[in-house]
Amino acid sequence: MTQQGVRWSVDQVLALAPDSASRKAGSKLGAAGPWSGTGSSREGAVWGLCKGSGSTPYRTVVDVVGGSGAPGPAYKCSCPSRKFPCKHALGLLLLWSGGEASVPDDGQAPDWAEEWLAGRRRTQDEREAGRAGSPSGPADPEGARRRAERRAERITAGATDLEERLTDLLRAGLATAEQAGYGLWEETAARMVDAQAPGLASRVRELGAVPASGPGWPVRLLEECALLHLLDRGWLHRERLPDALAATVRTRVGLPSSPQGPPVRDDWLVLAQYDRTDPKLTTRRIWLHGAASGRTALLLSYGAAGRAPELTLPVGLVLDAELSAHPGTGGLRASLGEQFAPPAPTGVRPPGGTTAEATARYGEALRDDPWRESVPVTLDDVIPVPDGDSWQLADATGGTALPLTTAARSRPGLWRLVALSGGAPVKVFGECGHRGFTPLTAWPTGPGNAVRLC
């Protein structure tokens, strides 16, 4: 794999933008006009001077490669913007995506850019050296153990408390939940936060929304209450569970996990990347598929309010890197280790299956993690088909189909998928679960690049 000619698409660059205003501002700057002194290096750095309203142009530099321990692109710009990346960084990357005519290859970074790039390399080296020097463990193992014990006790108290509330509810009947309203659940969720069990807290909060979720809510409420009860019981009896299931319970309750598996080096195809934003936190989920290992892995990355999560991997590219799996929840969650090259274009597509195989895989995943909402699957040769007010993905041959989730139906990505298909079979990657299928990325049957749907 050579690094030259590895330039991202417009779509991939625009996916970096923290918000739509930045997308707009960035695309305006993606023209040759205000830029001068642009260049890029073999090592994956891109730089340029952008003329703004002032007399001195802004100095913008992007490290596209990232490096071990500091993945994804990193940005530096002399503009005063608090957006990250700023519109200049986006504009520069757009210009770079346009090809060698606008941003030449193989350049030597100017001093101001080189300084920052060298600084980054130094910290990376130090970090690596640090990792090699003291391989594991915090400075005070005894203190850490005591802190962990205290937290487990608080979670146990929270889970016991929650059990009582659930049994009270079932004793009085779910019908009362409709009248009790949202406040009851908000208060319980707050108690779970106090108990340092964020996983329980968010499940409780979702519980509160169920009675207002339309017809069939009692069934959904019973399901969610029962699964929450199952999680409580799992936590309270975790020492009697098999290791993997106990790890899943710990993760579901909300304890942080760290990668344990040995690093697996592979060419990881970036299947999908999407963000969930709530007022305090943006959660980015990135699905990868290993060409050699055949494994599918999930990377999570977080950004505080107003900032995009730092890790960005353009959909459809392939990444030569090491991944380490986290314990529990079916082994899907992983952490990104060393990257050996920047993401590169590829013709590789993930292998797929039928709709029946997708639901079977979800069923199997529940064995390891009964709380799982969905599993990542690729469907081969499916056709998006309108079904009344809804949509489904139907096998091109055979008469079965998966309904799309409510969320997927209201996204613009649905129409990109329908347009891409044009009534013909396509390959679709997405999440398949008890609510239906959420398409995330699609490939045309003929030649063509991956199309983002999320």
């Binding site: 417009v10 695309s27 006009g33 049994t167 079932l170 009947g173 779910l174 019973l222 009860h229 009534g423």
Partner: protein
């Protein structure tokens, strides 16, 4: 089945739900003992059942599949152009910043030009871009024809699945269903007899485009039974491909019950210089205008009609003038407008159109007469008369609204060939500056011809030196960004720097002008890049 097991069968899910809804105090859940442990037992059973139900999920039956989209045989966009499209569509309307526009090009303004360039080259749109294209076309009606053409057959297929894009079906002939081909006489007949009004209008237009006579015959067959408004619309579609063989039908329509239909038929006939109506109008108009040789210079004498008789009315002359206009001049105007221009030289002593237009006119009739000739020149698309009526662009009268208003001048220019038009407007700008030029520039073909572009840049330069602010010229500046030939960018180099502030200039104007010229220059370079991206490497 697991008959050997001693486990009891799982309780039915419905029974669990019922017990949960009512509460275990009122309903003991299946398989549990009443009392304190009942809620917990119910939750245990429900958890097992929930996981079991989820694990057992199977795909459902497939709904009937949509018919696949018709194939788009056009070549795909080159990769660089596909990237450009993504950028242009990402910069959607609603982004207009107030006040100063800065130095960066306005991508939204370039989308129409980009679309017409891809359409000229016959590229197909990338399928995944169709939703964004349809949304853009929905938001901007001016984009619709070009965007829908580029979007192609798959977009119409898509529009049938999404009510938000219904407009695409209305905007496209046949509403996206293929119109019958020339060989399908039966389907044509059926669609004409039974189709909805919009379908019939599209059908008539399509048939007219390939066989004018067949379209007229289709219309003749059902003419007496059509409603008046429909007759008017159908008649209007004969404008395309109008020819002498339409005359008998149009003559007959002159006797129509509807006044509007009669007027349209008369208008169409008057655009056929060989028609009997045109000849009748020539006689009537000719009787009103004569050369008076008794004066020092030959002068045109005008004697307006004294009445609007039934025959005139039948030929489409409207008898009642709008308020504020005299009856006789109103009738005269209509006669001269409908009379073939080619008849005037013979009638007026063998003079050329230039000589006729230059003649003095007695008794203040000049304005009325010239205005009517202008309308006739536009209707009959007569470039000789248009040139004569426009006069030389540098003439003092051309600078302000005289006998021929700016709007009329723009229409007259429309009858000239593109180079002649550009040359005239360039001359006009050189003599009169930019303040009146906006409307005239709008009818010039894009990119502007070299002399016209030069005239505009020179005039902008002069306006800058005169010390005003550039936003007084923002309309022309915006046009220049879209219409100036990209190769003219080099000519702007001298204008990009901020000049020294002059004492009498408006404060800061120099900087704003430099900014405006920088944006103009960047936009031109961007347009050049956009065009280059559309060239397929050999």
């Amino acid at each position: 089945m697991n008959t050997g097991s001693s486990l009891p069968p799982p309780p039915a899910w419905e029974d669990l739900v019922t017990a949960a809804l009512l509460g275990t105090d009122r309903r003991t859940p299946p398989g549990a003992a009443p009392g304190r442990g009942a809620p917990s037992a119910l939750l245990d059973a429900a958890a097992a059942e929930t996981v079991r139900r989820r694990a057992g999920l199977r795909p459902g039956p497939a709904a009937p599949r949509p018919r696949p989209a018709p194939e788009d045989r056009r070549p795909p966009l080159p990769p660089a152009a596909a990237r450009r499209l993504a950028l242009l569509l990402a910069d959607r309307p609603g982004t207009a910043q107030g006040g100063r526009r800065g130095t960066t090009p306005d991508l939204v303004e370039l989308l129409p030009q980009w679309l017409s360039a891809v359409n000229e080259r016959g590229f197909a749109a990338p399928p995944e871009s169709l939703p964004a294209l349809l949304d853009a076309a929905r938001a901007r009606t001016d984009l619709r024809p070009a965007a829908l053409r580029f979007a192609g057959p798959r977009a119409l297929w898509l529009a049938r699945l999404n009510p938000d894009w219904r407009f695409a079906l209305r905007a496209s002939p046949g509403g996206g269903t293929a119109l019958p081909g020339p060989q399908e006489a039966g389907r044509i007949e059926q669609l004409w007899q039974e189709g909805l009004f919009a379908e019939r209008v599209s059908l008539l237009a399509a048939v007219r485009a390939r066989d004018p006579d067949a379209a007229r015959e289709l219309l003749e067959a059902t003419w007496p039974t059509e409603r008046a408004e429909d007759r008017l619309m159908f008649l209007d579609s004969l404008r395309a491909g109008l020819g002498p063989r339409d005359e008998p039908f149009l003559e007959q329509a002159l006797a129509d019950r509807s006044r509007n239909v009669r007027a349209t038929a008369a208008e169409l006939l008057s655009a056929l210089p060989q028609s009997a109506l045109a000849a009748r109008m020539a006689v009537r108009a000719g009787a009103c205008v004569a050369v008076d040789h008794t004066r020092d210079t030959p002068t045109l004498l005008v004697e307006a009609p004294h009445e609007c008789d039934a025959a005139m009315e039948r030929d489409g002359v409207s008898p009642n003038p709008p308020s504020g206009r005299g009856e006789r001049s109103w009738w005269l105007g209509q006669l001269v407008e409908a009379a073939p221009l080619a008849g005037w030289p013979a009638r007026l002593g063998g003079r050329t159109p230039e000589q006729i237009v230059a003649m003095p006119v007695a008794d203040d009739w000049l304005g009325e007469l010239h205005a009517a000739w202008c309308r006739a020149a536009v209707r009959q698309r007569d470039p000789d008369w248009s040139r004569a009526l426009l006069g030389p662009p540098s003439a003092p009268g051309a600078g302000g609204p005289g006998a021929v208003s700016l709007a009329e001048r723009a229409k007259l220019l429309g009858t000239l060939t593109a180079p002649v038009r550009a040359e005239w407007v360039a001359g006009f700008i050189a003599a009169h500056g930019l303040s009146e030029a906006f409307q005239l520039l709008g009818v010039c073909s894009v990119p502007w011809a070299a002399p016209l572009g030069r005239a505009v840049v020179d005039a902008l330069n002069i306006a800058r030196d005169a010390g005003s602010y550039p936003w007084s010229f923002s309309g022309v500046m915006g046009l220049a960004e879209r219409c100036l030939d990209p190769s003219e960018a080099v000519r702007l180099d001298a204008l990009l720097a901020v000049p020294d502030e002059q004492e009498d200039a408006s404060p800061g104007a120099g900087g704003y002008w430099a900014e405006a010229f920088q944006r103009l220059c960047r936009t031109l370079r961007l347009r050049a890049a956009m065009t280059a991206e559309l060239e397929v490497p050999a």
